[in-house]
Amino acid sequence: MQRFLFALPLLVALVFGGFFLWGLNPERDPNAIPSVLISRPAPDFELPPVDGVDVPGFSRADLSGNDGPVVVNIFASWCVPCRAEHSVLTRFVEEDGVRLFGINYQDQPEDAARWLDELGNPYERIGSDIDGRVAIDWGLTGVPETFIVGPDGTILFKQIGPILGDDAIRAFTTALEQAQASVAGS
């Protein structure tokens, strides 16, 4: 009994110390929002093409039955980080042969067309989500967001915010490689 009481301050210090250590971890992002969509099938949706852009729209059906994983990127011409991310996505497509689909979020078609004319269009398909309804089905919190969808139509990875900077690019590349490996393995 007495011994237990003596150990109490040490116990309390350990608990608090552990909590502070966890809080100080620079890797921890307190703003990170857990996604419930990971390892769930992609939502059911159908999006028309963007007027004035010569790639087709797409639906849930286009996301399954592919040879490999597909990257779905939600973007908008008015979104500044999307502009920065565009070159990273383009490099993925051109150098690594990534298949990239885009969801154009709450954008005027002419603005989106002009944006793609200016920066180039790395997207194989682009769906126009003018009212932003489909983006909510994807659990969007803000543009840009990028998903990796497996050949069976399952969402494997989600990146919130632009894929910029070494850490984000590395995390995304790793997830993509894992997705490709799982396809090759099965």
């Binding site: 009994m1 007495q2 237990f4 009481l5 109490l8 703003n31 929002i33 857990p34 996604s35 419930v36 969509l37 939502p43 709450q106 009212d131 932003g132 309804r133 983006a135 909510i136 089905d137 994807w138 659990g139 969007l140 919190t141 803000g142």
Partner: protein, 160 residues
């Protein structure tokens, strides 16, 4: 004087502004009331500690419209909440639901209270025990020793 009092009382009557815009409001006041109720239970996913009813964020507006659309489509309040949870997880609810993963969270205050009560009881009991414990009576040798020590002292109490 009266004017400034009026101004002050008017200030006190002011309530938190809501972000719901006139074009969002449903014509049926019952439906609108339910939409407000549901909106106040949903977290704005970009502002994080604000409900969508009072948030001006674009995505919050979209979610408000969606809530109203679901209500008009015949969903109950719970169905609308479930619809949102399906997409954003329980994170989207401002009031954490009670289930297996959150049980610890809900029970922790009770648990901590119980531990505190247990420790308090143990400490109090220990204290009472030491108080009740009477010192053993002195043995004859010890009595003699005390008498000898006392006799060696002068009446003022210091050693000779």
């Amino acid at each position: 004087m009266i004017r400034s009092l009026l101004f002050l009382s008017a200030m006190m009557l002011a309530v938190a502004a809501h972000a719901v815009e006139p074009d969002e409001v449903l014509s049926d006041p019952v439906f609108e009331e339910r939409a407000r109720e549901v909106s106040q239970a949903l977290r704005c996913v970009v502002c994080q500690n604000q409900d969508i009813d009072s948030s001006n964020a674009g995505i919050a507006r979209d979610m408000r419209l969606l809530v109203r659309e679901r209500i008009l489509a015949g969903d109950t309040n719970q169905q609308v909440l479930d619809f949102m949870v399906d997409r954003y997880g329980s994170y989207v609810l401002l009031r954490p639901p009670f289930n297996a993963t959150t049980a610890l969270l809900w029970f922790s205050p009770v648990l901590i209270g119980l531990i505190a009560a247990l420790v308090a009881i143990m400490v109090l009991r220990g204290a009472r025990k030491t108080k009740q414990r009477r010192p053993e009576p002195l043995s004859p040798e010890e009595e003699a020793e005390v008498a000898r020590a006392l006799s060696e002292m002068d009446p003022k109490g210091s050693l000779k």
